[in-house]
C-alpha cells in the first residue's frame, strides 16, 4: 500500500511502487484526464501537476510521488464550476479530438502558477514537450493567454487545490 495525495484527498493505493503514476490515476483511482499517449515521456498527454510542477505521469513511478501532492485536471474544476484554464479552453473551443488537451492544460496551469503573465514565446517554449496531432495549436495558445487573463481577474481562486 502506498499513500498518494490526489486532488486534495489521501488515497491508499494497492499498486507496486514501480507502477507509473499514470496507471495509478487511471486504473486505481478511475480518473480520466491523464492519458496514455506513448509511455515514453515523448508526447505530454499524461501530464499532471506534482507539488506545483508539471510531471509526465507515464514515466513517473509511484515511489517517486509518495506523499506528494498530485493534481489532475479533475482537481481544477468541473463543467459546472470550471477553473479559469478550463473556462478558457471552452471559450476558445481549443480542442478537436481533445486527447492531448488535458496534458497541455496541466502544463499550462503549472506555467501560469509560476509565471502569471507569460509571453507567447514563453508559452510555446513551455508546451514544446507536448504533441497535438489535430493541429489545434493556435487555439491552445489563445486559450492559455485567455486563462492568464481570467486568472488575473478571477483572483487566486484558480489554484485552490494546487498548493
Amino acid at each position: 500500500m502506498t499513500m498518494v495525495k490526489v486532488n486534495g484527498r489521501d488515497h491508499q493505493v494497492d499498486a507496486d511502487p514501480d507502477t507509473p503514476l499514470l496507471y495509478v490515476l487511471r486504473d486505481d483511482l478511475a480518473l480520466n484526464a491523464a492519458k496514455f499517449g506513448c509511455g515514453l515521456g515523448q508526447c505530454g498527454a499524461c501530464t499532471v501537476i506534482v507539488d506545483g510542477k508539471a510531471v509526465l505521469s507515464c514515466v513517473t513511478p509511484l515511489l517517486l510521488v509518495e506523499g506528494k501532492q498530485v493534481t489532475t485536471l479533475e482537481g481544477l474544476g468541473t463543467v459546472a464550476a470550471p477553473a479559469p484554464i478550463q473556462r478558457a479552453f471552452m471559450e476558445e473551443q481549443a480542442a478537436q479530438c481533445g486527447y492531448c488537451i488535458a496534458g497541455m492544460m496541466m502544463r499550462a496551469q503549472a506555467l501560469l502558477m509560476r509565471n502569471p503573465k507569460p509571453s507567447d514565446a514563453q508559452i510555446r517554449a513551455e508546451l514544446e514537450p507536448h504533441l497535438c496531432r489535430c493541429g489545434t495549436h493556435m487555439r491552445i495558445l489563445r486559450a492559455v493567454h485567455r486563462a492568464a487573463r481570467l486568472m488575473d481577474t478571477v483572483d487566486a481562486a484558480s489554484d485552490r487545490s494546487i498548493r
Binding site: 511502487p17 514501480d18 515514453l40 515521456g41 515523448q42 506534482v50 510542477k53 508539471a54 510531471v55 509526465l56 514515466v59 513517473t60 513511478p61 509511484l62 515511489l63 517517486l64 510521488v65 509560476r114 509565471n115 507569460p118 509571453s119 514565446a121 514563453q122 517554449a125 513551455e126 514544446e128 514537450p129
Partner: protein
C-alpha cells in the same frame, strides 16, 4: 579550487603581468582601414563552400548565434571566471559586424586575436587555436562569412570589472599563451593523422572545452585533453585519463562525431550535441581525420576495457541494491525500462555500465541529464529522454546517483553529492527562469 578563489588568484596574476604587458611594445597594433563591404558575388563559390565546411568544423555558429536569434549576429553571453563576455557579430554588416573588415584584418584576428580597430580580443575567441589555421582556410572562412546575410546588431557590452576590462592586459596573456605553429606533425603517422592534428588543434579547437584551464583562463599545456568545464557541463578527458568504460577507437569516434552516438558510449548531449550537429554537414574525410588523431591521443584501446564493461553489465545488482535499496528501486522503476530495454541506441537508453558520465569523477553531467533529460530536436529524428527535475526530489536524486555510481561505475561514491545535486537543480531551475524572463536572448547550454 573554488570559483571565487580562482578569480582572486586570476586577478592578482593578471595585475602582475600587467606591468610587463604595458612595457611590451607589441601591445599596440595598428588599426586597419575599413572597406566597403565586398559584394557577395565577388567571392568564388567554391571557396565559399569550403568556408562553410570550415565554419561547421569551427563550430562558429554556436558562440556567435543566440538561440532563436539571427545567424552569426553574436550577442551570446559567455560566462567566464572573470566576468561575462558577449560574442561579436560576425555577419558582414558594416557598422556592427565585420562588413568593413578587409581580408587581412580577418586573418589577423584569427592569427593573433586583434580586431580591425587594433584592439586585443578576449581569448574567449579561441585564437590560441585559430592561430594554427592556414591562411587559405582563413580566406575561405572570410569568404563564407562575408557572403552571409548582414545583420545590424550590436552585442551587449562585456561585463568585466576593472582591471580586466583593460584590453592591453590581453597582450600580456598572449605573450604567455599564444603560440603559433604548435600543431604536432609526424609524417610517419600518415596524411589522415596530420590532417586531424591540424583540425583538432586549430579550427576545431577541441581543447577549448576538453583541456583544463589555469588561473588565467589559459589551457594547461601539460594537461592537454585532461578534461575541462563548459556551461555547467564537464567536458570529458580525451587523453589516456579518459573514464570511458570502453576505450575510444578511431571508428567509434568517427561514428560518434558523424552521427552523434555510439553504442559503446551513448549519445552526445549538452554542448557536445551542438558540435556533432555541426559536424553532420562536414565532409566525411575531415570527420575521419579528427577521429583518427583523437583516438591516437587517447591511447591504444586496452583490450581489457570492453570485457570489464561487459562484466559490469552482466553482474547482478544485488550488492549495490542491498547497500542502497532506495536508489535501486528508483533505478528499477524509472530508468531500467529504457536503459535495459531491447531498443538499440540512439533511441534506446545507453547501457549505463558504458556511461562515462557515471564513471567520471565529476557527477554534473549525469545529474544534468537526469534532471533535464534530452529534448527533441524540432522536426528531426532525434533521441528524447524525459527530464525528471519535477518529479524527483534532492534526496531521491542523491540515492539514485549513489546507486548508479556503485552499480555501474564500480567506483567510490561521489563526494559532496548533496551539494552537486543542489547546484545542478539550481542550474536547471535557472534555465526555467531564463525562459520565463522577458527577453528573447537565451543562453546556450542550458542543461
Amino acid at each position: 579550487m573554488t570559483g571565487r578563489r580562482r578569480i582572486i588568484t586570476g586577478i592578482v596574476a593578471i595585475v602582475l603581468v600587467a606591468g610587463a604587458a604595458a612595457a611590451f611594445a607589441v601591445a599596440w597594433r595598428p588599426r586597419i582601414a575599413a572597406i566597403a563591404p565586398p559584394r557577395p558575388d565577388t567571392f568564388d563559390p567554391d571557396i565559399v563552400k569550403r568556408g562553410r565546411d570550415l565554419a561547421a568544423i569551427g563550430n562558429c555558429n554556436t558562440c556567435h548565434t543566440v538561440q532563436g536569434g539571427a545567424n552569426y549576429a553574436g550577442g551570446l553571453p559567455v560566462p567566464t571566471p572573470f566576468g561575462t563576455i558577449f560574442s561579436s557579430n560576425i555577419t558582414p554588416d558594416a557598422e556592427t559586424g565585420i562588413g568593413g573588415w578587409p581580408e587581412e584584418a580577418f586573418v589577423r584576428a584569427m592569427r593573433s586575436g586583434v580586431g580591425r580597430d587594433g584592439r586585443h580580443l578576449y581569448p574567449t575567441f579561441p585564437y590560441d587555436h585559430f592561430t594554427n589555421v592556414s591562411e587559405a582556410d582563413d580566406r575561405a572562412l572570410y569568404a563564407f562569412l562575408m557572403t552571409r546575410q548582414p545583420v545590424h546588431a550590436l552585442p551587449p557590452a562585456n561585463q568585466l570589472a576593472f582591471p580586466l576590462n583593460y584590453r592591453p592586459l590581453i597582450a600580456g596573456w598572449k605573450l604567455l599563451y599564444l603560440r603559433a605553429g604548435d600543431v604536432p606533425s609526424d609524417a610517419a603517422k600518415g596524411a589522415e593523422w596530420n590532417r586531424g592534428a591540424y583540425l583538432v588543434e586549430g579550427l576545431a579547437h577541441c581543447g577549448a572545452c576538453h583541456t583544463p584551464r589555469n588561473a588565467l583562463g589559459a589551457e594547461r599545456v601539460n594537461a592537454q585533453f585532461a578534461g575541462g568545464d563548459v556551461d555547467n557541463w564537464h567536458a570529458y578527458a580525451l587523453n589516456d585519463s579518459s573514464y570511458a568504460p570502453v576505450r575510444w577507437t578511431a571508428d567509434a569516434l568517427y561514428a560518434y562525431l558523424r552521427h552523434g552516438w555510439h553504442s559503446d558510449h551513448g549519445t552526445a548531449r549538452g554542448p557536445m550535441a551542438e558540435v556533432v550537429g555541426n559536424l553532420a554537414s562536414v565532409p566525411d574525410t575531415d570527420v575521419r581525420a579528427i577521429a583518427v588523431y583523437m583516438a591516437d591521443i587517447s591511447g591504444a584501446p586496452a583490450p581489457d576495457r570492453k570485457p570489464l564493461a561487459d562484466a559490469v553489465t552482466q553482474s547482478t545488482s544485488a550488492d549495490a541494491a542491498q547497500a542502497n535499496a532506495a536508489g535501486a528501486a528508483i533505478y528499477a522503476a524509472t530508468c531500467a525500462s529504457c536503459h535495459e530495454g531491447n531498443r538499440a541506441l540512439p533511441y534506446g537508453g545507453v547501457n549505463l555500465a558504458l556511461s562515462t558520465a557515471i564513471a567520471s569523477p565529476d557527477p554534473r553531467n549525469m545529474l544534468n541529464i537526469v534532471l533535464s533529460g534530452i529534448g527533441a530536436v524540432a522536426g528531426e529524428r532525434s533521441p528524447i529522454m524525459p527530464g525528471f527535475a519535477a518529479s524527483i526530489d534532492d534526496a531521491q536524486t542523491v540515492a539514485l546517483a549513489n546507486y548508479l555510481r556503485a552499480r555501474f561505475g564500480k567506483r567510490p561514491a561521489w563526494s559532496d553529492l548533496d551539494k552537486a545535486v543542489r547546484d545542478a537543480r539550481a542550474v536547471q531551475a535557472a534555465s526555467l527562469v531564463a525562459r520565463d524572463a522577458p527577453t528573447d536572448s537565451r543562453q546556450r547550454g542550458k542543461p
